[in-house]
């Protein structure tokens, strides 16, 4: 029949179809590249926790299976520098070695390694670290330290950690993850969004944010904030709600960033206090009413963000705003 080759590849090949197949084969699903070794995104979510744990285990199982039947597909990440003992998969890391999708990179005590991908940026991996690349755009830092300098367009590169994903918004930053899966993200230049599920934190240059295995991204704060302010924030995030008073009292105008995040995270009964302090420190636009802010009206929250007058935040206009 005339269309047999198109139907089931029986019969003589149609030359035009064969050429199209050849041209398009580059985008065919590749099993090894399809695996994502991502940590569960909402490990604390009560009904979701079990499923997420299953998902992680499942993906590891799939990865293992795939790696048995297919060689690891190289990503664009290549070793550009090695100091000390480091391994890519089971081999000693050497310069120019490519990191395969799903392959694990480990650095020993005192070791350091730099990965580079021409279209993405560079990643400096600190000692005692374990990292894998799911694709050119996504790596997973299981523990250790990673310093990223990314030149790809915003939102193209993501670092997964056991408790949150750091979405690059055009910048330079450091992520550390301890053996418990808790982490800290410090931004040196540009912006990073820390997210898991519908919980997000936006961290500008000069700020940092903790992430915890059980609760995901915390509230960002500037690194130059006072010690007492930081202690109050840590206490509040640790569950001591009485610390909120000190936290608000110690806030500076620059800490509007922290208060803006608190607005959407605190209990409804505390939201008025946070908004009140925010309004003392930041010039709230006239069209934003207290009621709208307390109701977390998306437009009001959006306008309050604008009132922070943060620099280089053009990416904000295209952000999904999951908290809405």
């Amino acid at each position: 029949m005339k269309d047999d080759y198109l139907w089931d590849r029986s019969g003589p090949p149609d030359p035009e179809i064969a050429r199209l197949e050849e041209a398009l084969a580059q985008w065919r699903y590749q099993p090894a590249a399809g695996f994502r070794g991502a940590a569960p995104r909402r490990p604390w979510s009560a009904p979701g926790a079990r499923w997420m744990a299953l998902a992680a285990a499942l993906l590891v199982a799939i990865s293992t299976w795939l790696m048995k039947v297919a060689p690891s597909v190289p990503t664009a990440w290549q070793v550009a520098r090695v100091e000390g003992a480091a391994q890519v998969g089971r081999q000693a890391a050497t310069v120019s070695m490519a990191l395969g999708a799903g392959q694990v990179l480990r650095t020993g005590s005192g070791a350091a390694l730099t990965l580079q991908a021409d279209a993405m940026g560079t990643l400096d991996i600190g000692p005692d670290s374990e990292l894998s690349a799911a694709s050119n755009r996504r790596v997973e830092l299981r523990h250790g330290a990673l310093h990223a300098f990314i030149w790809a367009r915003p939102r193209q590169f993501v670092v997964n950690t056991p408790s949150a994903s750091a979405v690059d918004l055009g910048c330079e930053y450091t992520v550390t993850v301890n053996s418990s899966g808790d982490g800290l993200l410090r931004v040196a230049m540009g912006w990073v969004a820390f997210q898991t599920g519908d919980q997000e934190a936006f961290i500008p240059a000069g700020a940092e944010c903790v992430t915890r295995r059980r609760s995901g991204p915390g509230i960002p704060y500037y690194q130059d904030a006072g010690q007492a302010f930081r202690q109050s924030l840590a206490a509040y995030e640790g569950g001591r709600e009485s610390a909120l008073g000190d936290l608000l009292e110690l806030s500076r105008p620059r800490d509007g960033l922290t208060l803006w995040h608190l607005l959407t995270r605190v209990r409804a009964s505390d939201r008025g206090r946070v908004f009140g302090r925010f309004a003392q420190l930041v010039a709230v636009p006239a069209e934003v009413t207290r009621d709208a802010a307390l109701a977390k009206d998306p437009r009001a929250i959006d306008r309050l963000w604008d009132a922070l007058n943060l620099e280089n935040a053009d990416w904000w206009r295209g952000w999904e705003r999951r908290w809405q």
């Binding site: 050429r19 065919r28 699903y29 499923w51 039947v69 799911a134």
Partner: protein, 179 residues
């Protein structure tokens, strides 16, 4: 090696996966990965399709208990993939062209192989039914019978989609060459 799926065997896997059997879900992943990838590729950039696959399967795994009939699994999974692709496009608020050359003349290499970006772009401009079926056939390398089994369409529908879609694609390619 990817495994071709048989409906009866899939039904058993789907029931087992819905009951929490991780290995069964892993097997479904392997069997349906090409179909999901092809659906995504019909809407988003190739690199994004890879990234979104995990989202689709995680969403499927979370919701699988709510699926009443195993026979509905292919269509249901297809819908999750389409929705995830649409969410992604809405989130990015832009639909990037596959290639800056997309609007240009059709380029072929010395062996007559056409420019892949342009071909994929032309396929993506076809009506949805033709687009998805052609991508599964030409990109993912699935045969018509495999496409029918995995998408839940009848073999007759798949055959019609392939023939009509291919005819439209040939016309579009011919039009580009004539430029």
């Amino acid at each position: 090696m990817l495994v071709a799926s048989e409906p009866a065997e899939d039904a058993g896997l789907i029931r087992a996966a819905a009951a929490g059997d991780r290995a069964a879900f892993g097997e479904l992943y392997v069997r349906y990965a090409r179909m999901v990838h092809g659906i995504l590729l019909g809407r988003v950039a190739p690199g994004d399709a890879e990234d979104l696959m995990q989202d689709v399967f995680l969403a499927a795994m979370k919701q699988l208990r709510g699926l009443r009939a195993a026979a509905a699994f292919p269509g249901w999974l297809k819908a999750i993939a389409r929705n995830r692709a649409m969410d992604h496009l809405r989130g990015s608020r832009e639909r990037l062209p596959l290639s800056e050359e997309s609007a240009g003349k059709l380029h072929r290499s010395r062996d007559g192989v056409p420019d892949a970006f342009l071909v994929l772009d032309l396929v993506r401009r076809l009506p949805e039914a033709y687009r998805e079926t052609l991508i599964l056939r030409l990109v993912e390398g699935m045969t018509g019978p495999e496409i029918a089994r995995q998408t839940g369409l009848t073999p007759e529908s798949v055959r019609v989609n392939l023939c009509r879609g291919m005819k439209m694609l040939r016309e579009a390619l011919g039009g580009m060459e004539a430029k």
